[in-house]
């Protein structure tokens, strides 16, 4: 499998460091892992003896569980470093924290941090492969890969697909990573949200379309992804109320009429039902929201497997 492609020893900060061919190789490997996850006995001995450290400097439930389960199923040893808030609050720098942990003999790091660029810093100070599990508003490549996997599995190629991402674009690492990955695989992507939640020069940076009107953005979409809208943006003066937000941007039967008839619906979770998405859409047959979670374990298994040089 993918003999010519090499993932061993590389980091995954974001998808811009990976070619379309490499992304497809990850998707193929994920497909195999997904099959294994359907078995009664869901375990491979392939990473036995390898040690993975999950460095979580920011609260996370599903991503951390998903990574730990993925590592478990490949028989790797896992140690967890969890710290709420920044490393600074603990009085120890990230540099010193990872020096200490690295001295215990780690083969790969999975890091989540509220500040962008932290994965690069961990790699700089450990020399070990680092897998970014979300850094600030910058990137969340495993989420993007599982989103892309979910689409690819249902619709085949992403080439030429119309994909619309709706919500708080400015604060979304999921959007940024998805834009890079989806564009690499040939999709036409539109981002949609209020102007106050839209970063500058999006189309220049990502080659996407920018729309501020939901119905226009959804027109003929093959795939629609809603994003979590956080209440704290209201107190930051970025929008007036959740009510007005949902009036303009919620995914409902009414607004989804503008998309293609069987358009897939995704959401990275956790969802605010009734705000960015109505139950009538979230729980509909076109929704792959729960399957995204299932796929997340498979994608993370594939990545750990490839990056640590496991053998099938």
């Amino acid at each position: 499998m993918q003999n010519e492609l090499n993932f061993v020893g590389r980091c995954l900060y974001d998808l811009n460091d990976y070619t379309a061919e490499e992304i497809y190789a990850i998707l193929e490997a994920s497909k195999v892992m997904k099959e294994i996850n359907k078995r009664d006995y869901k375990k491979l001995p392939t990473l036995k003896g390898k040690t993975i450290c999950t460095l979580f400097f920011e609260n996370s439930t599903r991503t951390l569980m998903s990574f730990e389960l993925a590592a478990d199923r490949l028989s790797a040893d896992i140690v967890r470093f969890a710290s709420n808030g920044s490393s600074l609050a603990k009085g120890e720098s990230l540099q010193d924290t990872v020096y200490t942990i690295n001295a215990m003999g780690i083969d790969l790091y999975v890091i989540r941090h509220n500040l962008p660029g932290s994965p690069q810093l961990v790699h700089k100070h450990t020399g070990k492969p680092v897998l970014n599990a979300g850094d600030g508003h910058h990137a969340h490549p495993t989420q993007a890969l599982l989103d892309i996997f979910s689409i690819w599995e249902k619709l085949g190629s992403l080439d030429g697909l119309k994909i619309t991402l709706v919500g708080d674009i400015a604060h979304s690492r999921v959007v940024r990573s998805n834009l890079i990955g989806m564009r690499k695989l040939g999709a036409e992507v539109t981002v949609c949200g209020p102007k106050t939640l839209m970063p500058s020069q999006m189309s220049e940076v990502y080659g996407c379309k920018v729309e501020y009107d939901l119905k226009t953005a959804l027109k003929d979409a093959d795939v629609v992804m809603g994003l979590r809208m956080q209440l704290e943006r209201q107190s930051e003066g970025l929008f007036p109320s959740l009510e007005e937000y949902s009036k303009l941007f919620t995914l409902s039967k009414e607004t989804m009429k503008y998309a293609k008839k069987d358009a897939l619906v995704l959401h990275p979770g956790p969802m605010n039902r009734g705000i960015e998405i109505l139950p009538e859409i979230a729980d509909s047959s076109r929704s792959v929201i729960l399957e995204q979670v299932t796929n997340g374990v498979a994608v993370r298994m594939a990545l750990l497997f490839l990056m640590l040089g496991g053998r099938m």
């Binding site: 962008p116 932290s118 690492r173 940024r176 500058s200 020069q201 940076v205």
Partner: protein
């Protein structure tokens, strides 16, 4: 002392001349001065002889932050970079908002420094933007300007009063232009890079709104406003227009805003984290244009040393600032003069003649009667910047581990060699 056979800066040209120094002053500049007239000869054959560089904007970090830099290491870095006079910014710990701290810096620089140090006093007490400082008594200590640099007075009424009060004494008020409500949480320029890297953006508007406000205040009060480290195309245009209608406004630009753009921040190199942030290519070109048409009066370093342990952090947690004094001439010469973006004579004017004039010091020219502040540079000579070679206590420059042309061989300050052969130790 006799500087022999060098190509000597004579305003708009270089001439092969000898420079005879007696005491602290230049005694004579002539085509051939006999070696018997001096006890010490500096052979400048094949080298260029410039007036010593003058920096209006240095953070010496002394008192209080001497792990980053101190008056000895900072002035030594200056001498190595070819500077003979630098101005210490007041955002130390404590803030330079009183005569005692002014005198401490002046005295220490005189006793142990490698160049002359002028002091800029705080505009408001503790630079908190609330109460005015004792400008008159700080003037007795020898301050040359007032500024809350590093911070910016947000309240317009207080800024108005502070400028009005400073104008009593006919000294410039230096503004670090930053509207906090717009720059809040910002790490790099708001734009393409901040979008890509997911870092908070500092919009050009945060600088331009304060500059626009302060130009209006200066015009209204008829007092001298000096804008520190200008960085946006619009801000430069505002200064150009203000100057043309006679407002007493001057401004400076840093080497990094002339040489780098926001693209340098890719990969989260914290050595590129600075205020104002590195801007777009359009802004960079506007800085260059402003320098060439004299909208921008001179180049100032904004030398802002920070220790490795402070910069080796998550981008958001690293402090703002770039280490500049040692790299400024070589980087500007290599990237701008050798690339035909600016004449060498113009660069020297902007590093020496023009800031010397601003400070009203008898320096910045090489002619009879001027202070013997001289920098001898080998334009062919390579200079490499690394943690091992830098004399500053800190290494926080984006040019680390790079090599440039234009090595300072000898710096002479008030007739004394402060860098190169014969340096006092």
């Amino acid at each position: 002392m006799l500087v022999k056979n060098g190509l000597v800066y004579q305003g708009d040209k270089f001439e092969k001349l000898d420079v005879l120094i007696k005491g602290t002053k230049i005694e004579r500049v002539a085509p051939s001065i006999d070696e018997t007239e001096a006890t010490k000869i500096i052979d400048a054959e094949g080298k260029h002889v410039f007036p010593g560089f003058v920096d209006l904007h240095t953070h010496l970090r002394d008192p209080g932050q001497t792990h980053k830099e101190d008056i000895i290491s900072g002035t030594k870095a200056a001498a190595k970079g070819g500077y003979t006079t630098i101005c210490a910014m007041p955002n130390t710990d404590p803030i330079v908002d009183n005569i005692a701290t002014v005198e401490y810096i002046k005295r220490k620089a005189k006793d142990v420094g490698y160049c002359k140090v002028s002091v800029i006093g705080a505009l408001t007490k503790k630079s908190e933007g609330k109460e005015l400082t004792e400008v008159a008594s700080m003037l007795e200590g020898g301050i040359v300007a007032v500024s809350d640099d590093g911070g910016c007075v947000q309240n317009t009424k207080i800024k108005l009063n502070a400028m009005k009060y400073a104008s009593n004494f006919n000294i410039p008020v230096i503004v670090h232009a930053e509207d906090y409500s717009l720059s809040a949480k910002g790490q790099i320029n708001a734009g393409r890079m901040s979008t890509k890297l997911g870092l908070g953006g500092i919009p050009a508007l945060a600088e331009e709104i304060i500059i626009s406000r302060d130009i209006m205040l200066a015009e209204n009060l008829n007092c001298h406003l000096h804008i520190a480290h200008i960085s946006t195309a619009k801000a430069i245009q505002m200064v150009r227009e203000a100057k043309s209608r006679g407002v007493k406004v001057t401004c400076e630009v840093t080497p990094h805003h002339l040489l780098l753009t926001e693209d340098a921040c890719d990969n989260y190199d914290t050595n590129t984290k600075v205020k104002p942030p590195l801007r777009t290519e359009k802004d960079r070109l506007a800085c260059l244009e402003g320098l060439l048409d004299n909208t921008i009066d001179f180049i100032a370093s904004d030398h802002a040393p920070h220790s490795d342990f402070e910069k080796e952090k998550e981008f958001n947690l690293a402090p703002f600032g770039i280490n500049v004094l040692e790299t400024s001439f070589a980087s500007l010469y290599t990237e701008l003069v050798l690339e035909n973006k600016i004449e060498l004579t113009k660069l020297i004017e902007k590093l020496s003649t023009s800031p010397a004039k601003f400070l009203k010091i008898n320096s910045g020219l090489i002619k009879e009667g001027c202070l013997a502040d001289i920098t001898v540079v080998d334009l062919e000579g390579d200079i490499h910047f690394s943690a091992e070679t830098m004399v500053s206590k800190s290494n926080n420059t984006p040019f680390i581990n790079q090599t440039f042309k234009g090595r300072v061989d000898t710096t002479i300050c008030d007739g004394v060699v402060t860098w190169g052969a014969g340096t006092k130790s």
